[in-house]
Symmetry: D2
Subunit: 360 residues, 4 copies
């Protein structure tokens, strides 16, 4: 595929590295970064496929991303790139991110190691947390709610997929004091890429298709991430029941959130609550608040960094019901990482991210 | 397909009619009744396809169910059949069921007209309810909880698909006083056959596949059915938030139910609650209670009349979380109808229903 | 799940073993045999899961097939069962089947080891063929075309899934001399269970869904099986181009076959050719020949032992086009094995196999 | 979604209209044109939804394409746009395209009316063909093979989806005299968007999912289009057996083509034939020829204008087997239309079309 010569003078591009480029989040980073106008994909690492070309492992990238995959080596990443995106299984970033930071490389970590305090990490992940020094440096990259801190950061911890959808859906209500964060129920549903590319019968087409199930009920490691950031951002103690379900589709997350209306919002109409949401996200290029009676669908954001939100006040029960959807690989992983990157660099927040959903 | 001559003397069979045989519930009734050892499928009606053979409309039934479809005529149904299964859109049974009952035909109605009191029906269905006389005769056919009344009934109102899964999952806890039915949250997910065979873009493969959405949030007509029968069976006032979601699969319902533990059950372990459930369903041939930590999947009951239930006590929040799954076309429609039929006739409850799930 | 007491005197049942019970063909054998009226499932083996119960590995079988899985031991199989169904990867039956036969156990082998002469096996499977003595004993179990030999057999080699659909679709034309078997093109499509339960990215839901591909083009090991049995049954030299494709579904095979009409059939109408097919399969309980202009769909035979066939004479090109469909796990594996078993035992051919397709 | 201010001076954009914007090809045109750097989407028409906004009908376009849909009126299209893309059911372009052309509007027609001579159109489409004058003006827009004529055209007839995949896969061999076009077999498979958004049970999720079928066997209207352009471009009489199949996926076409090697190519290796293909498509930015032994998958081109091709010489049978894949809505419809538009305007052929496949 050639390049359009627009006759415009060439700007310097920023060299970046993707560490863990052959998992699903990694290959999605490649998809986004390879077309980012300000970026050069200078390095991609994969310990499983080192020595092969990216397009050998993923033939859909033939002619698009043919660079050779390298083993991870902090020194060589530092030579090649100004910033590294880490897309690794839990536990790896705790080791690799410090190695990169010590060499001056900026880091956006898509894994779970730096999202919650060490004590919570140890409890829910059953692993040793990363060194405290780096934990403190890492800024939680829920862009819409942490934009200012991300802007000045050298190390961003990118939110988990479920927490992104859950927090974007609930924070306007929680921060306005409209809903009590102490009694939330989050019923979450995800496509199968959320579980990564690892092979087990639970990912086999024959066992996922024409099937639906709950998993990790009352024990999912995203629970403390949601509670912790409801508290750090919303300012009040949060307690949530969180249930994950597997949908027979590749991409997409939908979270249905149920919260008891606080006194302040009792008697408010759906339209009034929607107005609060619209106001909250007025300057957020990726959040779309739906009209009353319209409910977002995962396919309506597929392949994009969008988060769509619908809600209703259920007066019979005094509850607010919020439905939020994202593409778990984009806004829930690689896309939000690029969004944070844009903010860190002072570029337009949507640079390289202006895709139209692939529908149908 | 021939018949196995087992050398056993032939018993008289009961002639039955399926009214509305070409919708998805109707064709599922045909699948089950055509192999029922005590039954002869004497008549099948379809106003859309009258004059065609069942196997013209559904070629998979060639050589299995080739009978000609008739228009509905109460008199002719009464001549041909002792019992009629009605599988019709809302509003039709209100008219047809009385016509059949007046002619002495037993009725099992799979529609929604007779499941809730007329005032609720009018409010949620926006239609005139059926005559009170017949409403009173109709027994709510949640077999496991109403077996004795079904046994003596001439007119059974078969439960809705979502209510079947929801009630089987919650009634053991509600009836034991373990959970407060006044604050329940039911997050329900269904395959697309739940919406029937009617065509609109919402059923188009290209818009359902690789997609997930909520629908009829806070307004689904199964809400009052669940509340009403939690009350009539459980004996206490119920109030539920019910949300329906569409899963990109053909068959299957999964309901995730969240209830606050009442004082009586506070401190109980998951295992102790499971024991209550096991005890409750000890004699129910179609309910399987899973071991702690195991969660049922819709595919594990596909094509069968089974309802599988898993649960956990979430001590952090003081909640009971129950997951129940059924095949919406079988236990949620045609299968439960046959189960009720068996009970009405005094046959073994599982006659003609002993299928093994089609997995994978 | 209880049992219906029909008050009929109990007949002696035949004890059988399934060797390799946890692969997809194995679990399908369990589904069929557990409800077979003449059979007792006496043993199920699985080297991967020995010591677990069948329902631990496949929870959908809870209460239906809870027997403990054993390691394979020819002696113990011989003690427990009169007949063993082998559902194993290529190469294993070559060793295990002789061990069982030497102990007097009848064998139905669902693998590929005994379907073709040793020289072809070596060439296409790249493995050593089984001992000649047992090769000679094994009868190719394409029931409709080898019923008499199967009836007297102690060792049946069950056909492959693609060959079953291909041969049933083509043999009526080839045997009648209507089509030249020297220039056939077989374009075949299969659901993903055809590749077994083994995990690799090629089976991952995210990479199978919303995707379609060809595989093993011009090199699939079912090619010589089709050619060989076109010759042994059809009596003339066959040469076929065979291409396999992967369909994003769990079950089902459809083969589109293209053959040049021989002089004998030139000028024949579609209806006349259909009449030959109908006549050929007049006494075959599982083959359904469709009317002109109707084309079979894989879903129309799902879960059953049926093979549906449609065809047309394309006069523009002088070709016969035949489309045949089966459920690859039933008629293409476990179901045909049970059918052969029925024939070996002198039972009705459809004993335990009278299922209605699960549609939709 | 905002716009990135790149500080580059603004170029004048070309106003375009999409006629029939709410069918699947129409909404795909909107997806591509709304992000095209040289284009302004000035008008979108839909007789079904006139007066609504595009994003009312397709909420995924909220904030992206909110323009109001108009009824078709040739005069108003002529006022608003320099070029109109027609995405209409068969028969409509015959009337509308002339109205637009007479008013000086350039036309790219995505329908079937102008692709084949009137006599063939009448025979296969069972409709009156368009006026001869306009037929003669319309250039067949198989860009890779007609680039020069497209460059000077005011009226382009965009190829059908199946013909695009079939012709790109076969023309290099046919034009080189390597394969005889008189005996081709094209076994084609398509996702369900190929059938449009019209609703009938054949598009219902429950009947498409977990299913595979052939349709319009030996009678598909794309047959004469393939034959005709094999002849006009390849220069020799063509005769093909063409079979269409429906794959349970939304997007994607795969064509498996079988051709007898002509004397000239007898004995050639797969690698040598691949070299001819690579040479043929050396300057085609959207065609990727795979290495020997690698087979393209539909998902590897999803959402893009790419066509991937794999092939093998089957020496046993003397045949060439070619597999080609496209996204039917992009290269098979809207994308190729934009590609032709780029060529007509003298822009880079891939302007606005440099997407990375959405994988997985």
């Amino acid at each position: 595929m050639g390049t359009i010569d627009t006759g415009v003078e060439v700007r310097p591009v920023v060299p970046v590295a993707v560490v863990g480029a052959t998992g699903y989040a990694g290959v999605e980073l490649v998809r986004l970064l390879i077309r980012h106008p300000e970026v050069q994909l200078a390095m991609a690492t994969s310990d499983s496929y080192a020595g092969k070309r990216m397009s050998d492992v993923y033939p859909h990238l033939s002619g698009i991303a043919d660079l050779e995959l390298a083993s991870f080596d902090a020194e060589r990443v530092a030579e090649a790139a100004q910033i590294a995106f880490l897309a690794l299984p839990a536990g790896f970033s705790s080791i690799m991110a410090p190695q990169l930071r010590e060499r001056g490389v900026k880091v956006i970590d898509l894994g779970g190691d730096f999202r919650i305090p060490g004590s919570l990490y140890r409890e829910w992940y059953k692993k040793d947390p990363p060194p405290e020094r780096w934990q403190e440096e890492a800024v939680y990259g829920l862009t819409e709610w942490n934009r200012d801190r991300v802007a000045g950061a050298a190390f961003v911890s990118n939110p988990g997929c479920y927490p992104t959808a859950a927090l974007l859906g609930l924070l306007p209500a929680v921060c306005a004091g409209g809903v009590d964060p102490g009694g939330l129920i989050l019923d979450a549903k995800s496509g199968v890429t959320g579980a990564g590319r690892g092979m087990n019968p639970g990912n086999h087409f024959a066992e996922v298709a024409e099937n639906f199930k709950a998993y990790k009920v009352a024990s999912h490691q995203h629970t403390p991430e949601i509670e912790h950031h409801l508290e750090t951002i919303g300012g009040r103690r949060a307690l949530v029941s969180f249930t994950a379900h597997l949908v027979p589709m590749g991409r997409g997350i939908l979270v249905t959130a149920y919260g008891q209306l606080a006194d302040r919002w009792r008697g408010m109409s759906t339209e009034e609550v929607l107005e609060v949401y619209r106001e909250t996200y007025r300057d957020a290029p990726f959040v779309r608040v739906r009209a009353a009676g319209q409910w977002p669908q995962t396919k309506e954001v597929r392949g994009t960094n969008l988060c769509d939100i619908g809600l209703t006040v259920e007066s019979r029960t005094g509850r607010l019901i919020v439905v939020s959807v994202i593409d778990n690989l984009v806004k829930g992983a690689a896309g939000q990482a690029v969004q944070n990157f844009n903010v860190m660099m002072g570029w337009p927040e949507n640079a390289g991210l202006e895709r139209v959903p692939l529908y149908p």
